[in-house]
Symmetry: C2
Subunit: 410 residues, 2 copies
């Protein structure tokens, strides 16, 4: 364990130098120089660890330890190499580095696996440079299409296609069959929440990734002079909106975990200190591990909002512009991870992921599971993102145990 | 009355041509060409009506009908000639035009008054070009100082001082004594609210201009990931703010008229759809005709906000950045106006003004009263601002009756 702790600390700091941002944290956007350098460095590291490396067409990087018996069966681990702007050193990166370390230790201790073991450094997950997320895992699964990205540009007007070719990659051949050797995928990731920390747990064994629905609610009342319009003559859009926010969020609290509901944005018009707002627009993000509950809560919030709207004499529209189903992890792999984690005496918690990950792209096609390590104060996408090397090492240990069961056992 | 209706309609349309904005409505900002042309046209009109005209140093325009008996006593009427950007044809302008018409009809019917009668076209009230309001009436009362404006600029970087001199005016001599002949001031204005319209009244006799307090409330919670932070682990600044808005406004409704409370602006940070807001900032505008009630409501809202803040585990600051006392109108003039209005069978309502006017600057020094006419849908500061010529004419009639009592009676 002491070795693992210093090894993981060293690797995290090392990879964090690629794209280190003078404004803080790490900025390693898809197909930039920083990204290219990071992939090259990871490729070299994988080779030094005795892995056979290759890139796919679009730039996902794989390092492989050949299986002795089931050459057509591969167990995959890894995560994404890209970051948000001014992100942390762990989000994505830790999953790749933990994979390299796990393979290093498994090979050292147990030699060749029965099944191929591969670590992947996915090209992209965040959607931070171009308006497209999960480019890496969606290509591996054959879900990303050329037409999805051929007309998109980054914030500087650089075309996706040009950036990709400049970095030395190109579209995959969409007529070619996809890989069918991948029999399992395990991704380790920082929690990006504060549940493990608050509950004093070292490991989260993830059984589900939440589904989410996102709404924009627009309330239209009448803008009036703040001084000359008596309270009884108003149709105050913000007053109605604030009651909606109150009642919907309090209803979410009544439902309790794992339901979460968040109003992250609100804007009023005309937004003048002495004018009653005639218009209020707010967003609502709702997540749950069960589709049925998302549907039920959507009905509930619609009833609440429509009721307040009618009472207040304002007009309200509810626009649902995102509707993603929950993604359950594979029960057998989850069980195997839980069993190993328990046997090794690791202090774990069965939990869901409230955030999206590459695993949600892969899980509908390949048996998939996730392992979480704590995030200090729940902070991520921020230079303050932090997990101690000791906690990271426990995570790597859990990953080692999981991959051992999947790749070394009959 | 038929004459008055067509006369007022003609004058309103005529003055509305000065500063007519291609983007809609009227834009007649202090010391612009449009403003200069409007004052010159009004000067000419006053002269055609047999009034003696003069400008004061800063550009307030006066038209005078000499009194036969009390040459050291002047009854003043009028309002401001400037508008907001894309304002209406009536706000301010109607008060000047009604004054000209009133003097025309009084002179025609009763000849020379006992006291001097003057109509004023105040240079500025809105604070729309430069960050300074009531420049006109504050100069008449000796309240505006050179130092207030000598370093201010408009949105194009033009200095106040340069704009004033360019228009042909300059600072008043602050060492000179102010006029002490003004014994009464009556301002007629559109209501800029919807009370008269809703209650089917033709005239508002104003007994008080509300005091107002303005606050900025800042709520600091913790920004968290919307997916990975269970409801119980949040300190949602917007959730707390929306409860504050709800409870403070509902408390204002409990108080009832004439209290009004308005949250016109709200901003959250980081303002991202999937992040729990860590910060929420909103404004609060509170008005009442009695200072005591403003003080009491301030205590009440502070208790409400502090209570919600403590319960929600957020930090909150309340900053009161405006505190203006209510300005009572002169009871004797108000009584005289009410009596005349009643005698003439005009359908009137005793009311307060919820908006600020030149009258509030003058009232603490000179006995002052205001008359309101209805505003369609309560709309002002907008090209849609409208009062029918018939309603305007009833207003002019009420002004004539009021000025008659003040200037023609012993």
């Amino acid at each position: 364990m002491k070795d693992l702790t210093s090894e993981v600390a060293q690797l995290v700091d090392w990879l964090g130098e690629f794209g280190k941002d003078p404004e803080g944290g790490v900025t390693r956007l898809l197909y930039t120089n920083e990204w290219v350098e990071a992939q090259k460095a990871l490729e070299k590291q994988m080779q030094e660890d005795g892995l056979t490396t290759r890139y796919d067409d679009i730039g996902n990087l794989f390092g492989r330890l050949e299986g002795s018996k089931y050459s057509d069966e591969t167990i995959l681990t890894g995560s994404h190499v890209d970051t948000v702007k001014n992100g942390g050193k762990l989000d994505g990166a830790f999953g790749i580095l933990a994979g390299i370390l796990a393979l290093r230790h498994l090979k050292a201790k147990y030699g060749q696996p029965l099944r191929n073991l591969e670590v992947v450094s996915f090209a992209e997950e965040e959607g931070s440079r171009f308006p497209y997320a999960f480019w890496g895992s969606k290509n591996l699964m054959g879900l990303a299409k050329k037409t999805d990205v051929e007309n998109i540009e980054d914030f500087n007007g650089v075309r996706f296609v040009d950036a990709m070719r400049e970095a030395g990659f190109d579209f995959r051949d969409e007529t070619k069959a996809m890989r069918n050797d991948i029999k399992g995928f395990v991704e380790i990731h920082i929690e990006q929440g504060n549940v493990l920390e608050k509950e004093g747990k070292a490991i989260g064994v993830v059984h589900n990734i939440v589904g989410q629905r996102r709404f924009t609610i627009e309330v239209t009342g009448v803008a009036n002079h703040a001084g000359t319009t008596p309270m009884g003559y108003r149709k105050d859009a913000l007053l109605a909106a604030s009651q909606m926010i109150q009642d919907v969020i309090n209803k979410a609290k009544e439902y309790g975990d794992p339901l979460v509901a968040t109003v992250g944005k609100i804007e009023v018009k005309p937004s003048i200190v002495n004018v009653v707002p005639g218009n209020a627009l707010f967003t609502l993000d709702v997540r749950h591990t069960e589709k049925d509950m998302l549907v039920k809560f959507t009905e509930e919030l619609t009833t609440i909002i429509d009721g307040i709207s009618a009472e207040s004499g304002v007009e309200t529209t509810i626009d649902m512009w995102m509707d993603e189903d929950p993604i359950p992890m594979d029960p057998q792999i989850v069980d195997a991870i839980e069993k190993q984690t328990k046997e090794k005496g690791l202090n774990y918690k069965m939990m869901h992921s409230g955030a999206g990950h590459d695993s949600q792209i892969i899980a509908p096609i390949v048996p998939t599971a996730m392992i979480f390590v704590p995030s200090r104060d729940g902070i991520s996408h921020n230079p303050l993102e932090y997990t101690s090397p000791e906690e990271l090492a426990i995570g790597v240990q859990a990953l080692i145990e999981s991959l051992y069961v999947l790749a070394y056992k009959e």
